[in-house]
Subunit: 283 residues, 2 copies
């Protein structure tokens, strides 16, 4: 299983990029290095590896997508946003430091995400621009998705609104993680499109599963407060279409994602394994 | 005087980039378009024009640097940061909307700043990477500068701490605005270095002058609350070295900036005019 190796690799690279002296370093290091499944970097490395791409050329992409993810968690946890005090079983950034530092650490991480890609000496300018085009757009969509999420608190919404919100809030960056791997691998346009379908399916599946786990996971497993969505009167898949229908929905999407992979011009065993792993995750 | 023309031009371009449908559009448009002197875009256009560079090729740089500036003002005004309710003589973003939307509008504007540069069809990849390298680094330094600013509230600091804070918080983005113009103009390395010296001098001069205006400007002129720094127990140039010494300091820096310009290989009349205009500004 290469996943653990990718996690070890990306953790070392993240640590390296954060080995800078500065007034925000402590809060940024805390938020990035305290924990996290590294799902997005794993996706990027996995996709690139399908096409035998050198891991070194994927490092900056894997780190940049994780920096964007980390910044979004810091800002989402703020009192004015989701008001969550626990993240990765530790105090959220604004509790460990303060709100101002949490806002700025998030701001700094967003800038750093783009900076590490821009300055990667291993990649050519044209490729960097392609990678940055995907990443900047995903980062923008993610902020929009969070705005939709906050706007529908206590609202009755139908499933299409929820799907659009998830597509932007979580799906955009997951798809981006896959796309960064595909771009670095210089795979064919056809494979890139198939991978896009795959990523959209797992992106939505992952989020519906999150909604289900928020209801069902044993206390202490999530690494954050349970029922955090329903307690905030946020509409969720279970609250809109029911729990068992939600489970059916995410399983069907994982199956679709698996079928998408079979259309690729290369063997995608590692991504199939990843889907299996995701299906059985408990957090 | 080309400055008004630059302001008109950049306002139209900013408006264009913000003509997108989305959940954050209203808050982003409000914050960017409600006001602002457009000092950074003016610098970018001015510098590029010294070398007869086509204005069209500068538009995305001018807008991106203004988007970064606008996002920083939104976040700086938040209650957890400087807690300012008035900006450009209007309610600050978090007062006109709410804190969550203000955080997200700022986040979205930072992403958009990089996105417009990445996707500019008029620029080559190599140039875009050079521009983005400058901009991402300045954005990061700016967040660090704000963190230093907050960390020295109620502290007794010496002038070198204050200077370092200003160099990052305001100076980095002003220097970047100049550098973006120089890069687009493909000017010589020597001219670029001279322009860097110039920009560092006016960056610090501008900030010291801001500190002086915060004490001296007539009520209603600043477009924000007066004495906002001293009321928050923030150390300022006047509070550390005195008012008349502060005036001397910024005038000397503007003079240095003017002398720097005389070393350029091209005539810099428009930038000399800009310095004159800055020296006599009342807000």
């Amino acid at each position: 299983m290469p996943f653990d190796q990718y996690v070890t690799r990306v953790n070392a690279k993240l640590d390296g990029y954060l080995s800078i002296q500065g007034s925000l370093t402590e809060a940024m290091r805390y938020s990035v290095l305290v924990g996290g499944k590294r799902f997005r970097p794993i996706l990027t490395y996995c996709v690139a590896s399908l096409f035998n791409t050198n891991q070194q050329s994927v490092d900056s992409s894997a780190c940049s997508v994780e920096f964007i993810h980390a910044y979004s968690l810091i800002h989402d946890d703020l009192p004015a946003m989701d008001d969550d005090d626990i993240r990765h079983n530790q105090p959220a950034c604004h509790k460990r430091f303060d709100e101002a530092q949490a806002i700025l650490a998030g701001d700094g991480l967003q800038a750093l995400a783009f900076e590490v890609l821009v300055n990667d000496p291993l990649l050519g300018s044209q490729m960097k621009i392609e990678l940055l085009s995907t990443l900047t757009h995903a980062a923008f969509e993610m902020a929009e998705g969070q705005a939709i999420d906050l706007s529908i608190v206590s609202q009755t919404v139908d499933i299409s609104v929820l799907e659009n919100m998830h597509r932007k809030k979580t799906g955009a960056l997951l798809s981006c993680a896959v796309d960064l791997g595909a771009i670095t691998a210089r795979c064919s346009k056809q494979d890139r499109n198939i991978l896009r379908d795959f990523s959209q399916a797992i992106g939505l599946a992952y989020q519906i599963q999150d909604d289900v786990l928020d209801v069902e996971a044993p206390v202490g497993i999530l690494g954050k407060n349970q029922h955090s969505d329903s307690d905030k009167n946020k509409p969720t898949y279970p609250s809109v279409i029911g729990l068992s229908e939600s489970k059916q929905a995410y399983r069907a999407l994982y199956e679709k994602a698996s079928n998408d992979l079979n259309l690729l011009s290369v063997d995608a065993k590692s991504l199939q394994l990843l889907i299996e792993k995701l299906q059985t995750r408990s957090f």
